[in-house]
Assembly symmetry: C2
DNA sequence: CTGAAAGCGCTAACAG
DNA sequence: CTGTTAGCGCTTTCAG
């Protein structure tokens, strides 16, 4: 009897107990599907990632799944592989299952085309904002990431600062660069050299480190667009006789734990708060499902994780 | 009308077309939930991971999701965080949603307690086999991984072979070690030193590399239990004046692309075929749902990916 | 406060 | 071949 199980309707405490006991004994489990048919909602959301759960979407998903699970909502997992056909397929299937909403995530922080869903189905974009500014998007505050890194260098007294990062066509790369420049400008200084745009991997870090040192042997601090780049840069510094952090301080980005802590010295890095992005996205989606729509792009503040590459008192 | 949409029952081609057209025009989407209530199954499975989607469970999940999606089955995502309470909670919720089955995965290859589910609900274990041998488990063939690495070293003419790997309490570590020993024994030789059990990270690799070189300066090949260990070992080799692969050849494990390819030289590594594990697990689950139960532990063959750390003709 | 009845959207079986 | 009906398991409403 649903009245007993849900405590709804009018029923006496006595019979309620009796029914509950009987249910427990029988091992009765209500069929949530049937309830969903009646309620016209499924307490279920679809999470669509475009990038096969690379290291960026995973923390976002985890944060989202966590927040959603607390609201007793289950999560459907979909890997669209950046393929519009697959994406449409998943949307169709999940709408057939009457999901209450969608969270869309992916690797890049560049804008993406909005999802085409049944009108009334809420969608929240995490990490990759929707091109439609009236959609709800949660992203990393990349400018703040650059600023934080710059301020930390200034605070530790470094002044000959350089920046090595990913390809220029990534919004994230350009915004971090401008955040860093802003921080330096606010202190009346500027980058020792134009930003080195290139790639996100170790190899680019090594190359850029060498180029940088050749052009500016007196560099004393380098902000890197990823932890991998930072490792590559660090390797090249050591090879060319520079000590990290004494001669050159290094800050990475991502706080990819296993990479950052495995480095020698462990990397100080800007944690972009991806699981926070996921958590907030989930909350916004829950709000939207409850009828409280959010609109616009919300930027999540990153934070600095200090380790040996900027702190000589820390681990070697 | 369901007859038209599903092509079931008896209906003329004419009216069928007419109904289909009307449905397309209206944008009609059948409610799969209602169908599921009737069918008593949901075309949905639960994927439970114990380890928050570390790099081991992600490829497994991807492989599984891929195979399941082809069978038009959606996947519920659950992160139990190795917490029995959370696990039970997820199982209850998903059984309430009448999932057709479960796939359980996690980081370690050690056996785990079987899931407690409603009788009749199929469960397949991926990566972490069930303690119950009548359950269906798909795992990596770790002994084969060790064998493959050993045979590759022998083939390239190395004979003073060592092994640095993770903690001894991991089944995977011990089995790879014994597989490697078997391969050497088959060629009438043996390890130059007892297996170095320790950890899975770079730091352990560096330590072990130093210890190894001190005790056995003439070592010419090292099989490592993870790509991170291999990187650590490689770093220590170079620091102590050994060239990789000329003086010492290196094989890692996992084929964690970004780590293996970012190394200098890029790492030859044993790919443990995790997405294959996931794919097969999904197929076995589909079979079980269809009434064809599988039982026992199935081992998936790993394969070698050759890069510069064993091949001096390759990248430097 | 209780039990019966109607309906959520679908499918199968059934007369017409 | 067609349209109607009963029923999947649940919740809500409405007489008793």
């Amino acid at each position: 009897m649903s009245k007993a199980l849900n405590g709804t309707g009018q029923i006496s405490a006595g019979t309620r107990q009796r029914i509950l006991a009987a249910a427990a004994e029988t091992g009765f489990k209500p069929n949530e599907l049937a309830r969903s048919v009646f309620e016209r909602r499924s307490y279920t959301v679809g999470m669509i990632t475009t990038d096969s759960f690379e290291r960026f979407s995973v923390p976002v998903m985890l944060g989202a799944e966590d927040a959603l699970g607390a609201g007793r909502i289950s999560v459907f997992l979909c890997d669209s592989r950046d393929d519009p056909i697959r994406e449409k397929h998943y949307i169709d299937v999940l709408q057939g299952r009457r999901v209450d909403g969608f969270i869309v995530t992916g690797r890049s922080s560049n804008v993406r085309q909005p999802l085409t869903v049944e009108p009334g189905t809420p969608v929240v974009y995490a990490l990759t904002p929707s091109a439609d500014p009236t959609d709800c998007s949660i992203v990393v505050d990349d400018a703040a990431a650059g600023r934080i890194a710059g301020e930390h260098f200034l605070r530790m007294g470094r002044s000959r600062i350089a920046h090595v990062t990913g390809p220029e066509h990534f919004d994230a790369a350009r915004e971090r660069a401008s955040g860093l420049q802003d921080a330096l400008a606010a202190a009346g200084t500027s980058l020792i050299a134009p930003t080195f745009y290139g790639g996100w991997g170790e190899e680019w870090g090594r190359q850029a480190g060498q180029m940088l040192l050749r052009a500016h042997p007196d560099v004393d601090a380098i902000y890197c667009g990823s932890d991998l780049v930072a490792r590559g840069v660090g390797d090249s510094m050591r090879e060319l006789g520079r000590h990290v952090p004494r001669d050159v301080a290094l800050i990475g980005t991502d706080n990819w734990e296993i990479v950052a802590t495995g480095a020698r010295p462990p990397l100080t890095t800007v944690d972009t708060g991806l699981s926070e992005v996921g958590r907030i996205a989930a909350e916004r989606l829950l709000d939207a499902i409850a009828g409280r729509q959010h609109a616009g792009i919300e930027r999540v503040a990153p934070h600095l994780v200090i380790r040996g590459s900027t702190d000589s008192t820390g681990a070697a």
